[in-house]
Subunit: 227 residues, 2 copies
Amino acid sequence: MTGWQDIEAEVLRRIRARHWPPGELIPSEADLAEEFGVARATVNRALRSVADAGLLDRRRKAGTRVALRPVRRATVSIPIIRAEIEARGQAHGYLLLRRTLSVPPSDVRAALGLSAARILRLEALHTADGAPFVLEARWINSEALPEALDADFKAISANEWLVMHAPVTHGEITLQALPADAEVAGHLGCAPGAALFALDRRTWDGETGITAARLVYAPGYRMQMGV
Amino acid sequence: MTGWQDIEAEVLRRIRARHWPPGELIPSEADLAEEFGVARATVNRALRSVADAGLLDRRRKAGTRVALRPVRRATVSIPIIRAEIEARGQAHGYLLLRRTLSVPPSDVRAALGLSAARILRLEALHTADGAPFVLEARWINSEALPEALDADFKAISANEWLVMHAPVTHGEITLQALPADAEVAGHLGCAPGAALFALDRRTWDGETGITAARLVYAPGYRMQMGV
DNA sequence: AAGTGGTCTAGACCACGTC
DNA sequence: ACGTGGTCTAGACCACTTT
C-alpha cells in the first residue's frame, strides 16, 4: 500500500516537522528506498515531485537538500474570458468595438519581431450579464496569419479564433495596475483614473510572434491562485 | 538516443502541426511505445508531462485526447521581496513601521479561522536603493506561533522569519489593483488615488491559519510569468 | 574515482470508467 | 467485461559533479 504519494507525504512531514531542517542533506534515494521498502524509482518519483514544488534542491553527486528558501511557485490557469464569466453563472457577451489595420507601437513590434507593416488590430468588450467586464485590445500578426483577415470577429472573439487556428509554442504574461484613461473609463463605466487590473499577454509560435493583447478589467476584478 | 523529452517534443510537434487536431484521440501508450521503440513507461512520462502542461486530456479507458481548449497554465514564482530587489542589482532596505497586538478584521479572522483575540500585526516598508518598493501589512497568528512575539522584526522581515520558523502546508494568493489611500500614498511616495498593484497572501499549516499579508507595490510594478 | 540523481527497460498488477 | 492509463519493481547504464 506504499505508493509514491505516501512517500511524498512522509517527506513533506519530515521537512515541516524540521526533522530534516532547511539546508540539511537528506538520505539518498537508495537509502530511502530501503527504509520504505520500495523500489528506488518510487522514491525518485516522490522526491522529484517535492523538488518540483520547490522544497528540495537536488544535484547529482551532491545529493538532495531541503531548500533553504523554499521557492514557492503558484500556478494560475489563464482565464478564458468566456469560461470565467460563465463559471460565475453570468451570461457572457462580446462586442467588437473596432477593427483596423495599423502599425503597432514599437514595443509590440520589438517583442513580437514584427516589421513596420500594418497588421490587424482589434478592440472588443466582454460583458457579464450585460455589465462591462474586460476590455480587450489586441494585435494579431496577420502577416504570419493571413486567414485572420477573413475571420468574422464580430461573431467570435479573437481569443477563441486563435485557439482554433493558431499554433502557439510559448508566451508570457505581465500583470500590473493601471489608471483608467478617458476612453477605457468610458467603455468600462468607471471614473477616469480608477485603479484597474491589466493583463498583457504575448504569444509566439517558435520564433514567430502571433499576438499581443492587453486585457483591462473593470474595477473590483481579482485574480486568484493556489500555492 | 530516444529519451522521454524527445518523445514529448514529437508529441508537441504533432499537436501543433494539427496532425493530431484538438479533440482527437491519440494512439494508446502501448502503440506509441511500439512506434517509437521505447518502453511504455517512457511514453507515459512524456504524455504525462504534456498533459500536465494542459495540452492533453487523459482518462483511463477513454484514452488520451488533444485538449479542446488548451487550459494554459502559467507558473509564477512567488516573489521573495529581498531576492526580487537584489536580482535587479538594487540594495534592499527594510523598515518596520509599526508593531501592535490587535484584533484582525472579520474577513481575515474568517479566512484564517481565528478567534477574536489580539494577535501580532506588523507594518513594514521595503525599499530598493532607498526608494519605496512595497508596503507590507501582515497579521501573524501569534496564538499558534507564540515565538513570533519574541522575534525582532526590526532586524528580520516577517517573511524571512516565517520561512525559518513556521511550517506551511498551503496558501492562496489574490491579485488586484487598488487605489492608494492617504496613508499608503504617504509611505510609497505617490499621489492618493494612484493605481497600485496589490498581492494578498494567506497561508496555513494544515487547518491552522498562520499568516495573512497584503503587499502593496509602488506605482509601475509589474509581475511577470511564463506560459 | 566514486557517489548520486536521471533515466530506461520489460514485465506486472491494478483502478478506473466506458462499453 | 475489457481497454486504458497509473503505478510499481528490479535491474541496469549513464551523466554529472564533487572529492
